[in-house]
Amino acid sequence: MSFPLAAQFRLSVLTAAALCLPFFPHLNAQDFGVTITKGVPIRIAVADFKPESADPATSGYKHTFDTTLFADLNAAGIFDIVSKGLIPQSSPGNQSEMNLAQWAAPPANAAMVAFGNLSAQNGRLIVNGFLDDAKNTQFPQVFVKQYSEEASDDQARQIAHRFADEIIARLGGGGVGIAETKIYYVKIGGQNKEIWEMDYDGANQHALTHLGTVSLSPRISPDNSRLAFSALGREGFQIKMFSLLLNRMVNFPAAGGTNLSPAWAPNGNQIAFSSSRTGDPEIWTADANGSIARRITSFRGPDVSPVYNPKTGAQIAWISGRTGLPQLYIMDSDGSGVQRMTDGGYATSPSWSPNGQFLAFAWDRKYGPGAPGGQDIYVMEITSKRWIQLTHDIGRCDFPSWSPDGRHIVFANTPDGKAAHTRIMTMLADGTQKRALTGSGADMPNWSWK
């Protein structure tokens, strides 16, 4: 009696798989791509800033500023940046000291030049930043900006980030810069895991929580005011809330069962999360202080890792194990219109691109005992379900998270597969320019919304 039923089920699964196949063709990266630049990248030269004070600390600030500015513009992914070896050996401190013809000529061939001066006096660090259009000999100045902060190495870095963002905002085709954004992540320390914060470039790593337990899945609110995460307590994992304005934990109601993987709606008023308060883990939504919780899925098996469409807030992508191995799904944020996105393997950890068009996620396409598969980062175009693979042969990758300009993806990587060796890496959204932001012991990165 039970055998024909099982066989029938198996057959229908196979049929479904066969039917699905044409919709999931293997694709080369050329077939579709995440647009990093529109047209030819702008060739930009960055002069070393001119120190204009005798304070012995100035040279230290200048070094920090120069390297941060160069790294920010280089990492932006929209510039053809002139190598330091090809630029004129001069440090023009202001517009009158600028000889643009020198910068526009070979070998620099710069279309744009960023330059300026830096001084430390009376405990203040003052930076004047200029951006010139080298091809416009009559009115070359694009903008000039003055920054004044308390003199410190950290502020030298922050000013460089702000100046870089200003340049990217002017030249980046309308996109915002990300040099002032933050990345929240899990710091592994023995048995415990705490939530940490760092600048987008890996600098300024520091702890936010000190709960002495396992804290996971940090998710920053769209306005950068609150951080939702989940932490292990006596009653299992519960949603927790940390206020970045108050620098302390704030109350969030506990519920029965396991509650984890919170996600913010783009309006900041709603969160989605996984809860097993009624037995089976399902996707729930609630308002940002945890009240008016309601269940929006009902599938037997794990449902976890929701993420809102940041463009509309009207859809949720999440991971469901209702057919066995976890797969990527999307649905309307009221639970209707469920669509399966992946055709097999083991898919986890979705992140929705800021423009609403793509899902980044971790996928092991040949998952199973003894299978030779690896877990890598993929990006799928939602309307066509076509995908590209962004990481290859660098070990286990998980937890991709988009930068707010949609040009970068940060993710967790463990070269040898050992959990303790997990580190955070960043790359452009087309898979190029990979580099590590942290050493071992950092996991589950989440990029701020702005």
Binding site: Q191, K193, V214, L216, S217, L232, R234, E235, G236, F237, G257, T258, L260, S261, S274, S276, G279, D280, P281, G301, P302, D303, V304, S305, I319, G321, G324, L325, P326, Y346, T348, S349, A362, G368, P369, Q375, D398, F399, G417, K418, A419, D443, M444
Partner: protein, 255 residues
Amino acid sequence: MTLQSKPWKWALLAAALSLATGCHHSKPLNTTGANANETASSNLPAPTATLTADPLAIDIGQSLVLNWRTTNATSVVIDGIGPVPVNGTQTVSPSNSTNFHLVAKGDGGSTEANVRVTVRVPKPPSAADENANGSEDKTDEVTFHQNVKDVFFDYDSFDLRPDAQQAALSAARYLAAHPAIKVLIGGYCDDRGSAEYNITLGENRANAARTALISAGVPASRIRVVSYGKERQFCTEENETCWQENRRAQFNIDR
């Protein structure tokens, strides 16, 4: 305990059923031979009755379904339950082995049906009896883990294996004999796969073990469930032996 609450429940049930069957008696009997004697009257067929139980044997705390079918009967009574509809089913959870006895009466006479249900009552471990008053923590811990064994799961699965079902039954017997002990079930996963998904998978595993204990008669109020996913590993080697050790629902005394 649940078992002691059964008799009054049955009484209530019987009362409710007799109310429901009242209409049968008030129905006008327009047949001629109205003597419901043991001897059937000449032209009316005698009632027939069957009574079955599924399953025929249970462990204490479990339930079974009685199913009866009669023909030509106007009133049907099951001992211990009372008047019942002429055809029906009833879920019961007897605390002892019971002989269910059904009498069907009709205009053509009466007939009987029986079914014997065996209830397996475990003998409480004698060691526990000896130091029931002492209730030493250490002994509890040792006998607890001897009787309440962790259950293990297949890869990416939260379905109980047959061996786990057996383990749950013996765990339930032990817990029935030690009503003071509360249980913490931890759900665990192996090191592979993703952290968030594994926590929900661990939740499903712990809940599967919880459901097995509850259906074996352990009250839900004595069980607490926490999923640890892959956050608290038993071992960290990358091989099937270790992965299997980690894919488990682990039982502990909840203090």
